[in-house]
């Protein structure tokens, strides 16, 4: 029966995958199938946004994780033989995709930063970062379905088209799973969205204490920026919310200006700032790798430089 299948755990990502999925399905001359959790109203919305068929996963018990659906989805895929299966690259999505791929004995391109459909070969040509971002690997899948996980916000959301018709079908409830959810805690939300900010002041391990971050905050306020950080500050020290860190496993950003303060510039971090218009760095180590990827750098101790720099910016901007 074939088709292009998409799976996402949230609405935004479903809409993004509907957009790229619709394009590929049309070029392949096949149907677009969206797998969604629970809500019937959403099924109609997804049909208007490009799906030909919506497969609904019936609601889970409180203690059941989303991954309980892995065997159900894999079985459904085995029966319907999709050509291509795209999954949102969220943490749950990445786990689901890897497990489904294992069950179907097929290949999976993880975290694809580029997806091209080669019509002559009927292949999804996938670009992904390797070696912490030092290189791009281009892969194709030799088995079927060709699977890929796609990071959030890589594609624009699909736009609705009036009058589209489609089929809605409910999947079987999942079998009991060996994983039981005991509790959930929602994530704390970051103050400013670093992916939208025009100016980012990024703090790194060069800061000795959390309280010292106010030095960076003052600079950020002066130049109209938002605070971002490196992974260790969010994941190990928990000084800033997790959505604040930039890089390979964090957020990719595209500000006009990025200033890395006390950031060494390891490739896994700088991969996330590649698209910044201007990159600046403040580091006391003149050999820090960040200086090789920066347009302008100040070699100096951040505790000495930041107050002076904030002052100078205030003066220059008449604040």
């Amino acid at each position: 029966m074939a088709g292009v299948w998409i799976l996402a755990d949230r609405r935004e990502q479903t809409l993004e995958l509907l957009n790229i999925g619709r394009e590929i399905a049309t070029r392949l001359g096949t149907r677009l199938v969206a797998l969604v959790s629970a809500d019937l109203n959403q099924a109609q919305e997804y049909i208007l946004h490009g799906a030909d068929e919506v497969l609904i996963m019936p609601p889970l018990a409180d203690e059941q994780p989303l991954s309980a659906y892995v065997p159900v989805i894999a079985e459904e895929a085995r029966q319907n033989d999709p050509d291509i299966f795209l999954v949102a690259g969220t943490s749950q999505g990445k786990e689901m995709a890897a497990r489904i791929a294992a069950r179907l004995n097929t290949g999976l391109g993880s975290d694809c930063i580029g997806l091209n459909f080669d019509e002559t070969q009927q292949k999804l040509v996938m670009d992904r970062l390797i070696y912490g971002g030092a290189a791009v690997q281009t892969v194709v899948c030799l088995t079927c379905p060709q699977m890929a996980t796609v990071p959030p916000r890589m594609f624009a959301p699909a736009t609705p088209q009036n009058g589209r018709q489609g089929v809605v079908r409910e999947l079987a409830p999942p079998p009991p799973s060996g994983v039981k959810i005991l509790s959930r805690k929602p994530r704390e939300h970051a103050a400013g969205d670093i992916t939208e900010a025009k100016v980012l002041v990024c703090v790194g391990r060069g800061f000795e204490n959390q309280a010292d971050l106010k030095l960076a905050q003052e600079l950020a306020e002066t130049i109209g920026g938002v605070i971002a950080c490196t992974r260790p500050l969010a994941e190990e020290l928990h000084w800033l919310p997790e959505r604040s860190y930039i890089g390979l496993s964090g957020e990719k950003v595209k500000p006009e200006l990025y200033i890395g303060v006390g950031v060494s510039g390891q490739i896994q971090h700088t991969t996330g700032i590649r698209d910044a218009k201007v990159i600046c760095a403040i580091n006391r180590d003149e050999n820090a790798p960040i200086f090789d990827t920066a347009d302008y750098g100040i070699v100096g101790d951040l505790y000495d430089v930041l107050p002076k720099l904030t002052e100078e910016c205030k003066k220059a901007l008449g604040k």
């Binding site: 943490s91 890897a98 294992a102 290949g107 892969v139 994530r187 590649r274 002076k308 100078e312």
Partner: protein, 255 residues
């Protein structure tokens, strides 16, 4: 008493990779190798649980003969024994192959209650081997775990998902992949390094596994990423700082 397996990969240190500016070819002649960063957390967590609950802890890796160097390193970090699934064709395995080889080796020769893998490998970072391995072994799995407690027959794992934190219970045997903030890996000292020399290493060949492992993915090309930037440096004196600010004003990025 849990029998724990920790999986690790011997990888190129990405910090040593140089990119040829024009061709964007990678220069790998002078690279050094290391135990993949996240796997150090996986090894540490396995050893930590072993120290708390007893049982056993073994490390396993799949790779070409050159990966042998990683075995001493891993044993110095605490595991009692290492398994090395070794073949000269195992140089550029893709995740489906690695998981299939690990599954076969583990299934046929290692008894276990818990398998711990890193979140991803620091070279390919596909984040697939752990969850794929769990599926192939038919055991429950939790990925992106940042806290792990063993409570009799149950494993309690705190996992980080996009919306927040999920605390889950897994029935053993089970597999988890761990995040870097789960622990701080110990740095082996001289004593641990000497002790490592005496620990057993079990080599397993492809022939022993009696199966072929065909890739599901094909790499068409690899090219280095480059970042062309100004690389202009200033000092920390006031005059230098004002030059820096002038440069930003000229770029029109602050206002």
């Amino acid at each position: 008493m849990p029998r724990i397996i920790t999986c690790f990969k011997w990888v190129i240190d990405e910090a040593d990779i140089k990119v040829v500016a024009d061709s964007r070819e990678l220069l790998l002649e002078r690279v050094s190798y290391k135990i993949s960063d996240y796997d150090r957390n996986a090894i540490e967590e396995a050893v930590r649980l072993f120290e708390q609950h007893g049982g056993s802890v073994a490390a396993i890796t799949v790779g070409p003969p050159a990966a042998k160097k990683g075995l001493k390193d891993v044993l110095a970090r605490g595991p009692e024994k290492a398994y090395f699934v070794n073949d000269s064709s195992f140089t550029e395995l893709e995740p489906a192959q690695t998981a299939a080889i690990l599954a076969k080796a583990i299934q046929t020769r290692i008894e276990y209650d818990l398998i711990i893998c890193g979140e991803g490998s620091s070279d390919l970072y596909a984040q697939q081997v752990g969850p794929r391995l769990a599926e192939l072994l038919g055991i429950p799995c939790a990925t992106f775990v940042n806290k792990l407690t063993l409570d009799g027959e149950q494993l309690i794992a705190e996992r980080k998902i996009d919306d927040g934190i999920e605390v889950v219970a897994l029935t053993l045997p089970a597999l988890v992949t761990v995040l870097p903030d789960i622990n701080t890996p110990r740095i082996p000292g001289l004593k641990q390094t000497l002790e490592a020399n005496k620990k057993p290493i079990v080599e397993i060949t492809v022939k022993d596994l009696n199966q072929t492992f065909t890739p599901c993915l094909q790499t068409l090309k690899v090219r280095g990423t480059t970042m062309e930037r100004n690389c202009q440096k200033f000092g920390a004196e006031p005059t230098e700082i004002s030059k820096f600010v002038e440069a930003l004003l000229k770029e029109g990025v602050i206002a």
